[in-house]
Chain length 356, copies 2
């Protein structure tokens, strides 16, 4: 395994004074992990250096053709001062699936988890401790060849940056209002939807913007072929409790295979719930709603963990779910996931990794 | 109109000695145009400065979420030493349509054409003169907010860089071999397909790579819904001469509205050809081929101008078009377009703009 060279900052930043006002992703820590890829050399020169600007040629491919992928994960501080990661190996495995789709050279997953641990170890004092706060970790890779022809890059950079964060949504665990998107499409099978890559987020901006103008927090995407099947919510996967079944859209290439999604399914099944991954049409959901069978809806994702959905707007129809209140399954998942993540509950699933 | 401040380089680069070996998009000139957008200020501080690296925060949105758009156009040197642009106002209008879709603040199109002319005026000696060469111009905009939440940026940069180029394809005007893509999808209606934005190029890399492995130059994309209707070829729009009709896929939101495409249609119609913009299924094309009605196929784009298609591979079927030779319509379009662009023919359409 390659040695990670460490250069510590001589000018440490002031840490945020008020952890209740962290927001999401605008404060960054003192250090970052950097590694380069150059054809013929592979991934090389892994290092931890002071956080600071990077220099790019204006022709760098990432500024033109979006050959870039990323991951999102968190480090949590326990009451007794330990730093925990949550299933980091799953993120690095997904990073490589994204890499494969975007023609980016694969990384050594185990090495990247070690790099992550080393970086979090150095930034341990940056992990906030107030309720619901954590250190968001952003590994990302982008193409830097100074070349305006459209070809897979031969030169790339891999960085990990860290940001102390509070809740992703201002609503916190309060139910959000979601708008079912009818005009715009996020991704289609055969495209990039399953990869955590720039294109999917670029495609989401306009719909998200229009939803916010109408006072909705996020959009619920429908599939790009029939414009009928539920895909995911903005930056989250989505679950519906219909009668005695908990339904989540199956992974068919156009939605993100969320680590939190996977963890919800595993937890729910361990508790005896019937969880079904399948195609779910928006009209089927509406029918269940009208029959009083739609009991709960929630999103899952690293940033928000669990975000209950209190209202869904589909054209002129408004579905008020569980009276706009947090449902029991949402609450139980949130309590258990955050309990494991912050070390408040025993990690019976073996999901956490301690940073020594 | 804002004043463009000019800072000339003190270290001019050596110009390429052998214009026959320019390739495409790897050499850049001495200067670039830069302009910033900051919320509250609008687009400001337009300037021409020495070409050089830009500094970005590692959290800059363009490295994560692909909020970036671009244009591609060329400046041509005439035999009598004049510098010509080709329909630059159309590129800037398209740039704004891309901006609108990507939640990027619109630019002043007329001002951007002036900026382009000023930059090309300064770089006039960089326009190569050998047959088929030109100065490729790349206006592009990218989001720079140092923020990892997914929201439209409030801080962006607009640059124009210039690159002396030869032919885009090593084949030149020789017919290329194209592979009909069955697994991957470039874009779908409701998505970003009509915008000139990173996402579409990121989505194309894998298919392009696999096509090249099989010795094909580019892929022909089919629509993402029925996987049946012809969309475009790699980095070009596409035309087919079927019987007495010239067919090109209609603009329905998922393909790029090419300036060269538009110019081909206008030229062809001015010559009395019947040009139809409509849906064209790959099976319909194959049927026409089997009946001997498929007489010509070619791609159109700024980079390659006209690129005849000599062979199309669709699954196990190989369509040899016009015996793998340049067709008469392809040749006539190429001669006339390049004739107008390089000032060899009278500009009867009023398409060229001289840089004084």
């Amino acid at each position: 395994m390659q040695e990670i060279k460490v250069t510590l900052t001589k000018n440490p930043k002031k840490k945020p004074a008020d952890e209740s006002k962290l927001g999401f992703g605008s404060i960054f820590t003192d250090h970052m992990f950097v590694m380069n890829y150059d054809e013929g050399q592979g991934w090389h020169d892994p290092r931890i250096v002071p956080y600071g600007p990077i220099e790019l040629d204006p022709a760098a491919m990432c500024l033109h053709y979006g050959q870039e992928v990323f991951e999102g994960m968190k480090a949590y501080k326990t009451a007794d001062g330990r730093a925990l990661l949550f299933r980091p190996e799953k993120n690095m495995a997904r990073l490589n699936r994204s890499n494969e789709r975007l023609c980016i050279p694969l990384v050594d997953e185990a090495f990247c988890v070690e790099a992550l641990k080393k970086l979090v170890g150095i930034e341990k004092d940056w992990i906030p401790t107030a309720e619901g706060t954590s250190l968001y970790l952003r590994p990302f890779i982008f193409a830097v060849d100074p070349q305006v022809g459209v070809h897979p890059a031969k030169h790339l950079m891999f960085l990990i940056i860290c940001s102390p964060v509070g809740a992703y949504y201002p609503e916190g665990l309060n139910p959000v209002k979601i708008y079912v998107e009818k005009n715009y499409v996020r991704a289609v099978r055969g495209g990039l939807g399953f990869a955590k890559t720039a294109a999917n987020y670029a495609a989401s901006l306009k719909a998200q913007d229009e939803a916010e103008e109408q006072s909705y927090t996020q959009v619920l995407w429908l599939d790009g072929v029939e414009r009928r099947y539920i895909e995911e919510v903005g930056t989250m996967n989505v679950f519906f409790r219909i009668g005695d079944e908990i339904v989540t859209p199956a992974l068919q290439g156009s939605i993100l295979p969320g680590i939190t999604r996977m963890s919800c399914i595993e937890l729910l099944r361990s508790w005896g719930y019937q969880v079904t991954e399948r195609k779910l049409a928006i009209d089927e959901l509406y029918e269940a709603y009208q029959k009083g069978q739609l009991k709960e809806a929630f999103g899952s994702g690293t940033a928000a963990v669990i975000s209950p959905i209190g209202q869904l707007k589909w054209g002129d129809e408004i579905m008020m779910i569980n009276n706009g209140e947090i449902g029991e399954v949402s609450q139980k998942l949130y309590d258990n996931l955050t309990g494991i993540q912050w070390g408040k509950l025993p990690d019976t699933m073996g999901w956490t990794v301690e940073v020594k």
